[in-house]
Symmetry: C2
Subunit: 464 residues, 2 copies
């Protein structure tokens, strides 16, 4: 029962006891009752020796399911625990898309060794699928689907599908191809189950309009599945030959991965998203993914420091100016980051693109003015009506200070909002990932403009 957390915690405890005691039969009986996705999750927490005992005890059949759920960084190592005879079983049992994923990541040496363990049919299939890039629809699809032709009867179709039922990953949708293998339609399994056997397939099949080319990005395929609420999306070549399908569970995984990637890039975390869970990612890898951005951004902020250094005379003239310097600087980073985040997420969801740049710019210009005005007026009022109560020693009349702060906030927030919204589109238009315009990199950039705007308006207004 997966509802009760207590029971789940107990099961995990028993599993741990069995592994610690190296009690094979206890392990087998507990593992048999658990879902392989939970076993894979637990496997991450074991040490090397425990993993060896675990994998050898559960045997190649269950190991196949567990390995299919592991993060890819752990798979090659996991396979090393098995003898060739067992490996042959595991590689044969894997679904074709999982198998290709594994072949894509292992060392060339291991790839050769694994090929030698595959039967001729699986080897040919794997070599064909390896032609597609890992992050395309073709690289993600499974070829294990039910195929029938329009001139079959329901009875003939059922006979064909019954033969393939163990290898077919899904029969929720069955695709109809012509004699050349081109996709011409689809039927639902329920249509076969509920129609009389002599019914012709072409009388009950529907159009299969939704389809993707094998070469499109996996994210585009996943978005299509999500938009049209599809269980499976057929993948075709440029001549409409049916190559395979992307399933709903792949789509869910792809969309989650892409969201995580966006979130991490927005926070200036670099490199490949780790498939390992947070706690199983090593300190070294956490460090590596953050340090480069951190150092790069630090160098950018030397320029802000330089602006401050050059304008120290202005600060000297009226120390009270330093009270609002961090605010003007931060307001740019915050408003720019908000705008960039909105636009980047909208791009990820396929809502906007570089073609709509002008409409976005117009919307953000209006939003930026409203935001800058509100913030400027609030702070102007604060300086005029509340600041005098604090009796801060100062050399500038309150109205002049209020004007300088209000004007710089308006300019800073307006320009940062516009920059934040346009930079991701600019990045995309020169084929860069929009999310490299991370909020911190944007903040570091507008820090410089913020200092310039603030000191210039202060100097101008002081001289009035």
């Amino acid at each position: 029962m997966l509802v009760a957390d207590e029971t789940e915690a107990e099961t995990i405890e028993h599993l741990n006891e069995a592994i610690n005691a190296r009690d094979g039969s206890a392990l087998l009986s507990i593992a048999g009752e658990m879902h392989y996705a939970d076993l894979a999750h637990h496997y991450e927490n074991l040490d090397d020796e425990e993993r060896d005992f675990f994998l050898k005890t559960i045997g190649p059949e269950l190991a196949t399911d567990v390995i299919g759920e592991l993060p890819w960084t752990l798979i090659e190592e996991a396979l090393q625990h098995f003898k060739p005879a067992q490996l042959r079983i595991i590689l044969g049992n894997l679904s074709d898309d999982d198998r290709v994923d594994i072949f894509q990541i292992v060392s060339p040496e291991n790839q050769r060794r694994y090929f030698s363990l595959l039967g001729p049919h699986d080897e040919q299939l794997t070599r064909n699928l390896l032609k597609y890039e890992e992050d395309t629809a073709g690289g993600r699809m499974t070829t294990a689907i039910g195929r029938i032709t329009a001139d079959m009867t329901v009875k003939q179709a059922i006979t064909v599908l019954r033969r393939d039922q163990d290898s077919a990953e899904t029969l929720a949708r069955i695709f109809v191809v012509d004699e050349e293998g081109r996709l011409v339609g689809k039927v639902r399994l329920r249509d076969l189950a509920f129609h009389p056997w002599p019914t012709m397939i072409h009388d009950i099949m529907e159009n299969a309009d939704e389809r993707v080319l094998a070469t499109v990005d996996q994210e585009e395929a996943a978005r299509m599945l999500s938009k049209y609420d599809l269980i499976v999306l057929p993948v075709v070549d440029e001549f409409d030959h049916l190559l395979g399908v992307i399933t709903y569970d792949d789509a869910m995984e792809i969309l989650q991965e892409e969201s995580t990637e966006d979130i991490e890039k927005l926070a200036a975390i670099g490199g490949e998203q780790s498939e390992l869970s947070y706690l199983n990612t090593s300190v070294q890898s956490h460090f590596r993914r953050r340090v480069i951005w951190l150092v790069a951004l630090a160098f950018v902020s030397i320029f802000s420091g330089y602006v401050m250094f050059r304008f120290s005379a202005v600060l000297n003239q009226a120390y009270v100016l330093s009270l609002f310097l961090p605010m003007v600087v931060a307001a740019g980073g915050n408003s720019g980051g908000q705008a960039a985040t909105m636009v980047i997420r909208a791009m990820s969801l396929g809502e906007v693109n570089t073609g709509t740049a002008l409409r976005i710019a117009w919307k953000e210009m209006q939003t930026g003015i409203l935001l800058g005005l509100s913030l400027g007026l609030v702070m102007g009022a604060f300086i005029l009506f509340l600041l005098p109560l604090f009796q801060v020693p100062q050399a500038i009349p309150y109205p002049k200070l209020a004007m300088a702060v209000c004007a710089s906030l308006l300019i800073q927030v307006f320009s940062a909002t516009l920059m934040g919204s346009m930079l991701p589109l600019l990045a995309r238009s020169i084929w860069l990932d929009p999310a490299v315009v991370s909020a911190p990199s944007l903040a570091s950039t507008v820090d410089i403009t913020g200092m310039l705007i603030y000191f210039s308006s202060a100097r101008l207004i002081l001289s009035l």
Copy 2:
């Protein structure tokens, strides 16, 4: 054909022409060839009069599908375009979960009116479903599923299901209940299609271990669907009575919504996530969702300003110190934001929780030290070896400056990393949303510590 973008753009153009010319028959023929999800997407871009023409032309049947795909902010308004007789058709045609969603958002007055248009069965069903909170599994489930009992034969099961096939949202999994309606197992449609008719259901059914209580959060249900690669997840009450199912497409939608919410909160964008696409969200609404955070954060940064104001004497002693002030401040915001983002995403994916706080703290302390040391050493080296080349006028010996900058970067990055990782856990432990610890709010906070750390270490080292 949805592959070719050209064709899609052309279709949209023809659709627009038909709407502009108020050409009903042209609109009908184009709309008939488009997917309703695309029609719903296009509907957002129409003005009021065009929407009226569009909805009235396509008629209640197609309108039902389109309305099911609209963002909820547009639905109530869309329903106003129909006469009672048409509304009756639309409300009756909607799937039960979509219908409940609509009843949840409309005005009480419209809710009463819509109830009066429902048949007695639909009314009872809707009232039952309305008992569950909108964001729970019960509030999201559909009750339109195939149910059979274990003592049926395959033939009897097929007869029952054939009767229900039009109303059942999915037959990919068929659930087996006992005479009390308690969930006891599941069969796949293919098992019915491929087994001989006299086979007993209890001989071919499998366990249905995965299930959720109707009261659990929808996000938890969606994560379970994703983890176990399920097409449908049964929803039960505390006595295991089968109430309905959550389907894979609901799960995909829920996970996408939650990701968007996380991303927006991390960037300090407040309020309910808008279901409208970016371009269809009004400037007022964009403004409202950003302004409160922006003003609140601005007030926080007055404290940074105050620290700077108090330490102006130190800055005055050596202007060159201002060169590195923005860097130390920004390094805290950046490293803290990175840590907070990693932990918040890991919490969203269910990987970590408050129980693992100590392990997270230990990992982030190590990562923070490594990051602070690297950044400190890089900048120390920069000051010692490169800064002299720029001939910046300055009153502090280079080694002292390097020491001050290096020490404050180490302390600032270490403490910000630790704070960034712990604050989301702290928020969760006092039942706040972890994502309210947005990167900008964290940055504003560590700005203050950064100033304090920098000025204190500078003063200390200058006095040596």
